[in-house]
């Protein structure tokens, strides 16, 4: 019979030191080695539908702007003036097609394309100062996939399509209607008092459902332990859970929740064709901020349909939803428990030895995420 020490030695990926959830030094490394090396979600193209539309973003602590240029292209640029570093976009969102981004400090003006178009009293600089060399600085890489805007601070990051690799067809199902583009319905942000990784773990965890959400299921007269099932998949560093309940995928009747490494979850609820994306940003080691976008197929995104989608979404997910609020509260309790300096690792070991890898109550998707975490954290 194996001992726990042998189990840890054979499959260390099933056992996690608590400090990765509680040590500020680990978070600092995560920012540098994961958030600034991998591809991360910036936003969605339909947040900025018109030329000049922009949204401020903070990713890995970096001030950014997602902006649709006058040329129609979506760009990601740093929100900082090339003169004295002030933010140039002050409002959270807006349109700069006619107004440009005007630095509030000394009046440097940048177009929606990021070009420096005006320098007050410009003749005070020498010949070396050329406007074309002082535009807003673009993020090292940015690209889109099914309307999602991704970026990387790493100029050497592999192409986005390769990064998403084996998860692409699953992401297609969860982020694209029947071949139809999605549009933004609405969005909001909320905070959870827990380490950012906990919500990724939670999304890939079918094991908790009968317990955290048990009282909610009881109200519906459903036995969560018997009535709900799913299939979990590890897709490289990404993961997917299908709430299939015997329903055919081809009819788009299967709910799918995914985690895209490192900090994105996507959700497709077949009921009402609801699509949602959550971006998880660490505020500090004990707190995360979640940006949530609700999306819908363009052809059915009427006000009436969107109100129905939003109502259905609100009652389940988000900080006031019957699932979402329960999860968030549970994660707060996990974060407090993680602080116990007791030397005992936390487990993501269920299913390690059964070979039943696709059982959604197993924890293989958490282990897939952890493999990604190890991959990036162990790079120089």
């Amino acid at each position: 019979m194996k001992t726990i020490d042998e189990a840890i030695r054979l499959r260390p990926d099933g056992f996690t030191d608590r400090s990765i959830y509680t040590d500020p030094a680990v978070l600092e490394q995560e920012i540098e080695k994961i958030f600034k090396k991998a591809w991360v979600l910036i936003g969605h193209e339909t947040e900025v539908p018109e030329p000049g539309d922009y949204v401020r973003k903070t990713i890995a602590g970096q001030p950014l702007i997602q902006v649709r240029g006058n040329d129609g292209k979506v760009r990601v640029v740093y929100n900082t003036c090339r003169h004295r570093a002030s933010l140039v976009a002050i409002e959270e969102e807006g349109n700069c097609a006619k107004t440009n981004f005007v630095c509030p400090y000394h009046g440097f003006e940048y177009s929606a394309d990021g070009d420096l178009v005006k320098v007050p009293v410009a003749d005070g600089y020498g010949e070396w100062f050329k406007n074309e060399e002082f535009g807003l600085v673009e993020l090292a890489q940015f690209d889109t996939f099914n309307g999602m805007v991704f970026g990387s601070f790493n100029p050497d990051a592999q192409p986005l399509v390769d990064y998403l690799s084996s998860a692409k067809e699953f992401i297609d199902y969860a982020t694209k209607g029947d071949g139809e583009d999605l549009v933004l319905v609405d969005s909001y942000k909320y905070d959870i008092a827990g380490n950012w990784k906990l919500l990724i773990d939670n999304t890939m965890d079918g094991y908790h459902v009968p317990y955290v959400h048990g009282s909610m299921f009881e109200q519906f007269g459903i036995s969560a332990e018997e009535g709900i099932s799913g299939i979990a998949r590890t897709l490289g560093f990404h993961g997917s859970i299908d709430w299939d309940e015997g329903r055919p995928m081809a009819e788009r009747n299967v709910n799918r929740y995914m985690a895209i490494f490192p900090n994105i979850t996507v959700h497709y609820n077949a009921s009402g064709d609801m699509f949602a994306i959550r971006q998880i940003e660490p505020l500090n080691v004990d707190n995360m901020q979640v940006t949530m976008w609700l999306l819908a197929p363009k052809s059915t995104a009427s006000r009436e349909m969107n109100e129905r989608r939003a109502a259905a979404f609100t009652i389940t997910w988000g900080p006031g939803g019957l699932f979402g609020a329960d999860d968030a509260r549970q994660l707060e309790w996990v974060q407090l428990g993680m602080k116990a300096d007791c030397g005992a690792p936390v487990l993501a070991a269920r299913g390690l030895e059964t070979g039943d890898e696709d059982d959604w109550e197993n924890e293989q998707s958490m282990r897939g995420f952890r493999a990604g975490w190890n991959h990036y954290m162990n790079q120089d």
Binding site: E92, V185, Y190, I315, G320, A325, D326
Partner: protein, 151 residues
């Protein structure tokens, strides 16, 4: 010498309803809270940003039935006492319509947690006023905490 207006300390019944509502929440008396809503009625929580632009996404968007379901699904978190403080309450009556507005702060566990505005539509046809609709508009860029029960 005080005028009669200055001596009139009666609280407007619509404002008193809001006082009773927040007091009942702070006392975990959810039955009393539900009794303050008409059937049908709506209870909503929304961020200021979404509210101002008539966004469809809410933090909470419950019918009276769903609000009862919310309370039934979540036993009172008595270890997390809340305190509501209400300010700048005013009532506007226009024909049969009664609108109540007030700012508020809510502490949870002694820590400032939510601030915002109550916007209520009041039914005054019965013996005591009740909410036909209560909208809670939260200030700030981000909802700062979970909303399992009500605010």
């Amino acid at each position: 010498m005080a005028t009669s207006a200055q001596l009139d300390n009666a609280i407007d019944p619509a404002i008193e309803l809001l006082y009773r509502y927040t007091a009942a929440l702070d006392q975990f008396d959810y039955e009393a809270v539900l009794a303050m809503f008409s059937k049908p009625s709506r209870y909503r929580v929304q961020c200021r940003r979404n509210y101002e632009r008539n966004g469809v996404l809410h933090i909470v968007n419950d019918s009276d039935e769903q609000l009862g379901f919310r309370f039934a699904s979540h036993p009172p978190l008595r270890l997390e006492p809340t305190v509501h403080v209400i300010g700048n309450a005013r009532v506007r009556r226009d024909g049969g319509d009664v609108e109540l507005r007030a700012t508020f702060n809510m502490d949870r566990n002694g820590k400032p947690t939510f601030s915002g505005e109550y916007i209520g539509a009041i039914d005054e046809s019965g013996d005591t006023p009740i909410f036909k609709e209560l909208m809670v508009v939260l200030e700030g860029d981000s909802v700062p905490s979970t909303v399992q029960i009500a605010i």
